[in-house]
């Protein structure tokens, strides 16, 4: 009980310190009350149309589509009637890496920053960071841990290196407890990070 009171007080003190600092900086005209929101908006997902999430959700509810997606990704993408039809710059040669209970897939590009943008939108900042690319190839488990994703040690991690010829994306595993959800609701759960393999898809309430 005492410990709880202590930590609550500490939280309140920290909150007051942050508030006081912000107020002083606003008063001095250094920042405005919108500065923090503006800065943080940069870190929100910067992805384009969410085509990839639709592909993933369809694969979850339709086993035949999932098989097609794995074997002939472009044929599966064609079926979706996306505005970009999967064609166009950097979209021509996409391939899906399907996560299973035994294998977790991670996409990187050590040579360039190839990225299937019709499916995933524009790549996030860290994807082009040279040290991310090099380390993800060398020690994927450790790098994923730094993303707050700890993969079960018994699970294999496969790293797929995109190139000018093939752009990979990940089909994450369907989370448990989503049996009652429809395709559209499922698509809303799929994050760009999960289609890069640096995150998993969590059930709605998690």
């Amino acid at each position: 009980m005492e410990r709880f009171e202590y930590s609550r007080d500490r939280e309140a003190v920290n909150a007051a310190r942050a508030r006081a600092l912000e107020a002083l900086l606003i008063e001095k005209g250094v920042i405005t009350s919108e500065t923090v929101d503006k800065i943080m908006a940069i870190f929100a997902t910067e992805m384009g149309p969410f085509n990839g999430a639709k592909l993933v959700a369809k694969a979850w509810v339709d086993p035949a589509f999932k098989t097609l997606l794995a074997q002939d990704t472009m044929a599966a993408v064609e079926q979706m009637n996306f505005a970009t039809k999967g064609a166009g710059a950097e979209g021509e040669h996409m391939k899906a890496a399907i996560n299973t209970p035994e294998v977790h897939n991670l996409i990187i590009c050590t040579l360039c920053s190839c990225y299937p943008w019709p499916i995933l939108g524009l790549p996030p900042y860290w994807y082009k960071d040279p040290s991310f690319r090099a380390r993800a190839a060398r020690e994927p488990r450790k790098v994923l841990g730094e993303f707050g994703l700890n993969i079960d040690p018994t699970k294999e991690i496969k790293t797929w290196d995109s190139s000018a010829q093939i752009r990979w994306f990940v089909v994450p595993e369907r989370p448990e407890g989503t049996e009652h959800l429809g395709e559209e609701q499922l698509a809303a759960l799929v994050t760009p990070e999960s289609m890069m393999g640096v995150a998993i898809v969590k059930p709605p309430s998690a």
Binding site: R19, P123, G148
Partner: protein
């Protein structure tokens, strides 16, 4: 894609001792004040109030000092509390606020 300051700042911490906590791929904040402190630090560095490298050096040495002073099982570890302390120090050092006496959090707590 052009790299903006925010992206540079965060990717420069990847894999280093001062990397902020993440959950399932994203930055995670346990409370609004943590997000506030994070955002203010980035904004001030972006404006040139202090250098990002200098802020990070302070973070790294403060984290190292905490680790020396505490057992690694100590549950009182709070990444963003250290962040906030470093941020206050950097602002003070910049002279930005003149000799404005630092607002006392205790006093603020009791004020309405």
């Amino acid at each position: 894609m052009q790299t903006n300051f925010e992206h540079f700042a965060l990717s420069s911490m990847m894999g280093k001792s001062d990397m902020p906590p993440k959950d399932n791929g994203s930055l995670c904040f346990g409370a609004p004040w943590q997000r506030q402190a994070f955002g203010i630090a980035l904004a001030l560095s972006k404006q040139g109030v202090f250098e990002w490298d200098d802020f990070r050096s302070e973070m790294i040495s403060s984290i190292a000092a905490w680790e020396v002073a505490h057992e690694n099982t100590d549950h009182s570890w709070d990444y963003y509390e250290i962040w906030l302390t470093v941020l206050e120090r950097m602002v003070q050092r910049s002279g930005l606020l003149g000799d404005a006496t630092q607002a006392s959090p205790k006093a603020l707590l009791s004020s309405p």
